[in-house]
């Protein structure tokens, strides 16, 4: 994917007070003269703050770490997790499209994204509140298919539950991360046996009896 800076750029960028304090603390992690090592965490913080990495943000980070702008641009364009274009103001959906999620129906989720948000990924919805992209494995294959918004995972989605998730984002409902099929975490979805502590201990006792 060809990654360039967005044509539309904000006027300026600066860290919020808390982020600036955090960034200054980050610098102390590295020996003197090696501050440039903090470029990825700082860019990431900038993205957390703004939603994406803008040209002023790149220049701010370069200035902050006393390194040439082109070196920061190289890093920002290398890693796909840095968004170089504006993302949805309410949510940026990262739909996992890797094999397990695909087998469990992530293609339908992508179809939903295309109809509800924008036909093209990395593009804003008509009101600018949402955007989406297909990403590689999010590491939650046991709860496939998975969609990530910010740092929250929404799991076990299907077409209906994903449509509802988008509607919830649109109407500013409080989003509850986690499984959409009623699972607590990644336990088997059709549980035939329910374990209780008592049962387990008696099972262990029978095993021990067998051994004995």
């Amino acid at each position: 994917m060809l990654r360039r800076l967005s044509a539309k750029q904000p006027e300026k960028f600066s860290f919020s007070k808390a982020n600036l304090k955090w960034a200054k603390a980050q610098l102390k992690k590295y020996p003197k003269g090696r501050q440039a090592s903090a470029v990825i965490p700082l860019l990431w913080k900038a993205q957390e703050q703004e939603g994406w990495v803008s040209k002023p943000a790149i220049e701010f980070v370069a200035n902050f770490l006393d390194m040439p702008e082109i070196r920061v641009l190289e890093v920002a364009t290398f890693y796909f997790m840095f968004h170089l274009k504006p993302v949805g103001s309410k949510a940026h959906f990262q739909v996992c499209g890797t094999t397990p999620c695909m087998l469990r129906g992530s293609e339908y989720l992508i179809d939903v994204c295309k109809t509800r948000i924008n036909g093209k990924q990395h593009s804003l919805s008509s009101d600018g509140s949402m955007s989406w992209e297909e990403v590689e494995c999010l590491g939650a294959c046991a709860n496939a298919p998975v969609v990530q918004i910010g740092s929250d995972y929404f799991e076990d989605l299907d077409k209906e539950s994903f449509e509802k998730l988008i509607s919830d984002v649109e109407t500013d409902e409080l989003l509850v991360p986690g499984s959409r099929s009623g699972r607590f975490s990644s336990e088997p979805s059709n549980m035939t046996r329910k374990y209780s502590r008592k049962k387990l201990s008696s099972e262990n006792a029978s095993v021990e009896r067998f051994r004995g």
Binding site: M1, L2, R3, P68, E69, I70, R71, L73, T77
Partner: protein, 673 residues
């Protein structure tokens, strides 16, 4: 240095263990193909063309440019590690790499300027598969604008990153980089800015493919039809070694030659792209002034006018900035015969410079590599000796400290500012006191803005006494190619002498000096190659050859004697400089006992043994400095070169240099606003 025994193919060698395999192979005479590796740049290891097999090492080929000998393991019984450079594995690996590189490389060799001197072409012939198995679409990449010198064809780029490494490491500009990843990686400049460097032309040579080519040379010639002449550059006093490529009687391009002692393998943009200035604004026939207008005339007429005027009154010779030693010598002889004075045009010192220990020093350019402290006194090496500046940057990267007395201009390294007057220098000297460890490891680089200042003789004496006391190094940076040669031949620089000359002399024989201000009443004979300021104010113009059109000796800023060779014929009726002067001598009744250039050189070497050994610096006895005086002068130093790209008459005639000057001015305006 620890040595290590390494077996390369079947022979065992003893190498410094810090060498990489590719360097060791090079030393033992085995050529390893490469694209990204370059001796004078950092190691990238990304082209994979230099793969070799390490026996007993990992079961895959190793990149020889990135593997040090000390990391090679010995054999099971302690036998030296073995490297194979021609095994089946290596051949297959090279074929494979070549195939990958060619996947996205366009097949546009017939319209590519690099064709015929392309590393990719040559290595595909030697190590490639011979045919392509690839039928899919090739990638294309957008070109971008790097300014008036370097043309980009980024589709041809193989991402070796030599250009990025050169501009960051040697040229000292952080503008180029490689963005994106994988198939979409591109070489770009930040926000597509043009490059702002005096050494950017070198990336054309460094580019192993046709991605970066020369804009002024574009589509004008093929390398095999060019006549190659190895000669010396005169755009600054460094005396860079160059190769001039000409076609017919036209210079098509200029490229550097390697000389580790002088220019490593870089040349400045001015040296490289000035050739279009040689074609235009030329004086191709003699002119004489009749009623205020210059009209063309014949050589016969011009020579008789010249000899008549010179016979009548005292004649002074003024040396310009691009004159060869032979010309200066012929002028010297004639001047001795006529009993006049001879002065150097571009340097006005407050006292005489009595010997090489005054106007050259005891340092060499290569000393910069080994010295811990570099003190710039009234010089801007970036403008006055761009290649030396790259050397200072290299020293700075390796930990040298740079101090500067002079005008605050942007350099490519950090400097400790000492101020801008001799008084500030005295403060610095007092502060450092007689710290021996500091001064012994110090080189002073003294420039013209120092020497041209009032009371520079006292300051120079102070510097020289420090050099003498602590065995420091000291080198004058002459911005002009003819400076050391003319000083060796005894041309005067003392400002008092020069003022007298301008006042009293009836006839001034100007050898290409365009900065000369002549009072009314004196007759000016201008002998030069270009119709510039000097020719405009002359009464008689004798057209002569420029530096690429005649053989000549040039003495560089460190006193190194180098031979420039004739690449093309001078235009029209223009003649070689020494020939014109000899013809006038004959007319005046002074007949030198030589007829041709060899005879002239013989006589020159007899008279001035300093200039006799080509390629060498003849060390002269050091003349003891006088007792040191306190420096109190608060006259600020003034920058010597104002417009880098327009510093001599050939540059001023060049369209490329004009474009560059304009581009830099607009860049400076943008920076200022």
């Amino acid at each position: 240095m620890v040595n290590k025994k390494v077996k390369i193919n079947e022979t065992i060698h003893d190498f410094d263990e810090n060498l990489t395999i590719i360097q060791a192979c090079e030393i033992s005479g085995i050529q390893i193909p490469r694209f990204c590796y370059h001796e004078r740049l950092s190691i990238a290891g990304n082209c994979r063309m230099c793969l070799v097999e390490v026996v007993g090492g990992p079961p895959k080929p190793t990149a020889s440019c990135a593997m040090q000998l000390k990391d090679l393991r010995p054999g099971p019984n302690g036998e030296p590690p073995q490297v194979l450079t021609n095994s089946e594995m290596v051949e297959n690996a090279r074929k494979g790499v070549m195939e990958f590189l060619l996947i996205n490389h366009p097949l546009d060799c017939p319209i590519c300027d690099q064709g015929g001197e392309c590393d990719l072409q040559d290595q595909a012939m030697s190590f490639g598969l011979g045919k392509s198995r690839y039928t899919e679409d090739k990638r294309t990449v957008e070109d971008y604008d790097l300014g008036p010198l370097v043309e980009t064809h980024m589709t041809r780029c193989i991402s070796c990153t030599r250009c990025v490494r050169f501009t960051t490491e040697v040229a000292g500009i952080d503008q180029m980089g490689q963005t994106g990843r994988g198939e979409d990686s591109e070489i770009v400049t930040y926000l597509s800015n043009t490059l702002d460097s005096e050494l950017q032309g070198n990336i054309i040579d460094l580019c192993p493919v046709g991605a970066l080519t020369s804009k002024p040379y574009a589509f004008t010639a093929r390398p095999w039809e060019l006549q190659k002449t190895e000669t010396i550059d005169v755009m600054d006093g460094t005396g860079c070694n160059i190769r001039v490529d000409s076609k017919g009687n036209r210079v098509m391009r200029i490229t550097p030659r390697e000389n580790h002692l002088v220019n490593e393998e870089w040349i400045s943009d001015k040296s490289r792209f000035v050739w279009d200035g040689i074609r235009v604004q030329r004086l191709d026939t003699p002119f004489k002034k009749v009623e205020g207008n210059l009209i063309p005339t014949s050589w016969e007429d011009a020579l008789s006018i010249a000899s008549e005027t010179m016979r009548c009154g005292n004649t002074s010779f003024v040396a310009g900035d691009l004159v060869s030693v032979e010309t200066l010598y012929t002028a010297t002889k004639l001047s001795e015969y006529l009993g006049g004075t001879k002065v150097l045009g571009d340097l006005d010192t407050s006292g005489p410079l009595n010997g090489r220990s005054f106007y050259v020093g005891n340092g060499k350019i290569e000393d910069l590599d080994k010295t811990k402290n570099i003190i710039l006194l009234g010089t801007n090496p970036r403008k006055e000796a761009s290649v030396v500046n790259a050397r200072i940057r290299k020293a700075w990267i390796n930990g040298a400290n740079v101090y500067r007395l002079g005008v605050k201009e942007t350099l490519t390294y950090d400097v400790n500012e000492l101020g801008n007057t001799f008084f500030d220098l005295q403060i610095f000297l007092d502060k450092m006191g007689s710290k021996k460890s500091f001064w012994t490891d110090t080189i002073f680089l003294v420039g013209y803005s120092f020497l041209n200042n009032r009371s520079a003789d006292v300051a120079l004496n102070t510097v020289r006494s420090y050099v003498e006391k602590f065995k420091s190094k000291f080198l004058i940076i002459h911005p002009n190619a003819s400076a050391v040669g003319s000083l060796d031949l005894g041309f005067e620089t003392d400002v008092k002498v020069k003022q007298n000359v301008m006042k009293e002399t009836k006839t001034i024989y100007n050898l290409g000096c365009d900065t000369l201000e002549v009072g009314k009443g004196s007759f000016v004979i201008y002998q030069g190659s270009h119709g510039d300021k000097g020719a405009g104010s002359a009464d008689l113009i004798l057209p002569s050859a420029c530096y690429l059109e005649e053989d000549g000796i040039f003495v560089n800023t460190e006193g190194r004697i180098q031979y420039a060779r004739k690449a093309i014929q001078p235009p029209g009726k223009a003649k070689e400089n020494w020939r014109i002067l000899r013809a006038i001598s004959e007319k005046l009744g002074y007949i030198p006992n030589w007829q041709d250039l060899n005879g002239l050189r013989g006589a020159l070497f007899d008279d001035f043994p300093l200039i006799s050994e080509p390629g060498k610096i003849i060390m002269v006895p050091w003349e003891t400095a006088e007792k040191q005086k306190k420096l109190g002068s608060k006259v600020p130093l003034k920058a010597y070169i104002k417009d880098y790209y327009l510093s001599n008459c050939i540059c001023r005639a060049s369209k490329t240099m004009g474009n560059l000057a304009r581009a830099r001015n607009s860049l400076n305006l943008k920076k200022a606003s």
